[in-house]
Amino acid sequence: MKKVPEPAAAGGGSSKMHNTLVYIRQHWQLYVLFMLPAFLLTIIFRYIPMGGIAIAFTEYNPIRGIFGSEWVGFEHFQRFLSSPDFMRYLMNTLKLSVFGLLWGFPAPILLAFLLNRIMSAKTKQKIQLVLYMPNFISVIVLCGIVRILLSPTGLVNSLLGTSTNFMTMPSAFRTIYIASGIWQGAGWASIIYTAALSNASKELKEAAVIDGANIIQQIKAVEWPAIKDTVLIQFIMSVGNIMSVGFEKAYALQTDLNLNASEIISTYVYKKGLLDGDYGFSTAVGLFNTVINVILLISMNALVKKMNEGKGI
């Protein structure tokens, strides 16, 4: 946006903004110098590759290149949207991410509240260390562990005294996916909340205790206000990622028998594009995914803004 208002146009209300603009104008060489690298990098690695989405509108052939390939318009989109599997993939994706957000988002917050109540700093550190560790396991290794634990002869079955093969049950897939995700990520994700909570004044908490607040009321009056803004930002960011469910994990937990629940858009894109070589189609599906994502992000930000007295991203 190159619209720099003329000095005269800036009214009293935006005089601070006006001053900033005048300042920037005086030192424009400096700003250009600082911004150029970032600008170029963004162009080269973020915008130029976007040209690749043109693939979605072609019958792409790598040998003939994007513009040498046959232009097919919205055909791929039509094919995908009208396919009988489309609704299933979309719902699988949405359910996985929405339920993932629903269960996974509050987990680190609750964890932070709990951690914050541990009096001894030493004990707290040790517990935190244990909680962080799963975060450093690679997703593929994690899925391996999950498969072993849940196999008919695995730990879970021997504890229950059964021999259920959880990995083949479509109804168990989402639970496995989300629960293992929480186990892996909640500790790490709680760091940011623990940090925000350390800003809650100790005196204020004591005042609440004297006022007669129980633990829930203390959290409501002292701790929640201290982390509310952080939670909101985190929430908006998570919503932004709602459709970009990681392909690796779903793929790694997939079995032929649980495909009914485990086939999501990204695993479908992978299979179509890289395994079947149907590049044009798979790009179209990926693009569709992104567009939904953007719509979700924008509408969620608007919603949060409304709820939070005009503060969003």
């Binding site: 005196e203 204020l204 004591e206 005042a207 205790v209 004297i210 006022d211 607040a213 009056a221």
Partner: protein, 399 residues
């Protein structure tokens, strides 16, 4: 407040003790430090269980009394107050409020309210909500809450800010809100931990006067912590002077000023600080004299009676005389002027008498000419203002 519900809000602290246990690894460090010869400011006793922040704390607070805890930083004032509030576990002894042992009672059930140094207001609530919060938690009816909050706001002159959030208030206004929050609860005991130390000097003086007025309006027992002796002297019915976790003296402001129990209290109370001399106490039957630098004076009858009651004999002493109680005279103890500070109504003469630094306050109207560096002056003092401390124990021999 119906009369029958109005009970006596006495507070008794019996041999109260607080030990902060070591966090593992800290013990060794502290032990090492204790061996170091260097003199530290705070010398808390360190035992195997931990740091003893307060010990042997005995105090009976009468109904509606205003008690001030005062002492240097780290002496255990806040710890004591927090034990009364229930924010800190009591390691030993008994806390009795209104005849009931309160050691293990939750803070909210102790019928106390507390005002904190940093106001501790809920930032997301309005002033009104802040003040109403504890009543709301107690499930009082809305109209009762409203009445109490408005009454308190009226007393504190913050009615016009009721709908504001704390961040839109000045420090002094915030502290009023914090006090308001405490008084709406109508507590048996009002606890205040350095409530004025975040305010600038002028505001502090104003708020100090406010608290005195407040006290007349809300008849309750106060425990007030400060490190400022002016606050202690002006507010307290009785002052508790603490050092290193021990009580040094308990008494009315006049008592601790006129009869400091030991050298520490003598040096702590009073501005400028009391002058100390190496002197001799001489007993002659029922009469006592102090001799210093060739000057000799008889103590007044009250002091003589107190000393005689303890059968104090002649001995070398540390003599204390406050700067405002020294008089420049033609004869007496001789001293060399080092600095003369003009303070307006008086001059503070910093002199050297027999190797000791001494301050003499000379009212401007009594001055005969100006004092210059190196001038020799003579000063005397009366027998009523001489404090005699044992050389061995640093205790006032009157006690």
């Amino acid at each position: 407040m119906c009369p029958e519900s109005e009970s006596m809000a006495t507070v008794q602290l019996k041999n109260i003790k607080k030990v902060y246990p070591f966090i593992s690894g800290e013990q060794k460090k502290n032990k090492k430090k204790a061996d170091e010869p260097e003199k530290k400011k705070v010398n808390l006793q360190i035992t195997d269980e931990g740091v003893v922040a307060v010990q042997a704390f005995d105090l009976d607070i009468a109904d509606k009394e205003f008690i001030v805890l005062v002492g240097p930083s780290g002496c255990g004032k806040s710890t004591t107050l927090r034990m009364v509030a229930g924010l800190e576990e009591i390691s030993g002894g008994q806390l009795i409020i209104d005849g009931k042992v309160m050691n293990d009672v939750a803070p909210k059930d102790r019928d106390i309210a507390m005002v904190f140094q940093n106001y501790a207001l809920y930032p997301h609530m309005t002033v009104y909500e802040n003040m109403a919060f504890s009543l709301k938690l107690r499930k009082e009816p809305k109209d009762v809450i409203d009445k109490k909050v408005r009454e308190a706001a009226e007393i504190l002159d913050i009615t016009q800010y009721l709908e504001r959030k704390p961040k839109a208030l000045s420090g002094g206004q915030r502290q009023r809100v914090a006090i308001g929050r405490a008084i709406v609860r109508d507590p048996k005991v009002m606890l205040m931990d350095e409530p004025l130390s975040n305010l600038d000097a002028k505001l502090r003086n104003e708020m100090r006067a406010e608290i005195i007025k407040l006290r007349q309006r809300i008849n309750t027992t106060f425990m007030y912590v400060t490190h400022d002796q002016t606050e202690a002297m002006t507010l307290g019915d009785r002052i508790v002077i603490m050092k290193d976790g021990y009580i040094q003296q308990i008494g009315t402001p006049q008592e601790v000023f006129d009869h400091p129990a030991n050298l520490f209290v003598a040096g702590f109370i009073g501005m400028p600080v009391m002058n100390f001399f190496d002197a001799e106490l001489k007993r002659d039957g029922k009469k006592y004299f102090v001799e210093v630098g060739g000057y000799r004076t008889e103590l007044d009858a009250e002091k003589e009676a107190r000393l005689a009651a303890h059968d104090v004999q002649s001995q070398p002493i540390t003599l204390g005389v406050r700067p405002e109680h020294t008089d420049v005279a033609d004869a007496g103890i001789s001293a060399k002027v080092e600095v003369a500070e003009m303070m307006g109504s008086s001059v503070h003469l910093h002199v050297n008498a027999g190797g000791r630094d001494v301050i003499i306050i000379v009212p401007t109207i009594d001055m005969k000419g100006n004092y210059k560096l190196g001038d020799t002056v003579h000063f005397t003092f009366g027998g009523r203002v001489a404090h005699v401390f044992s050389k061995e124990t640093d205790k006032n021999l009157e006690f």
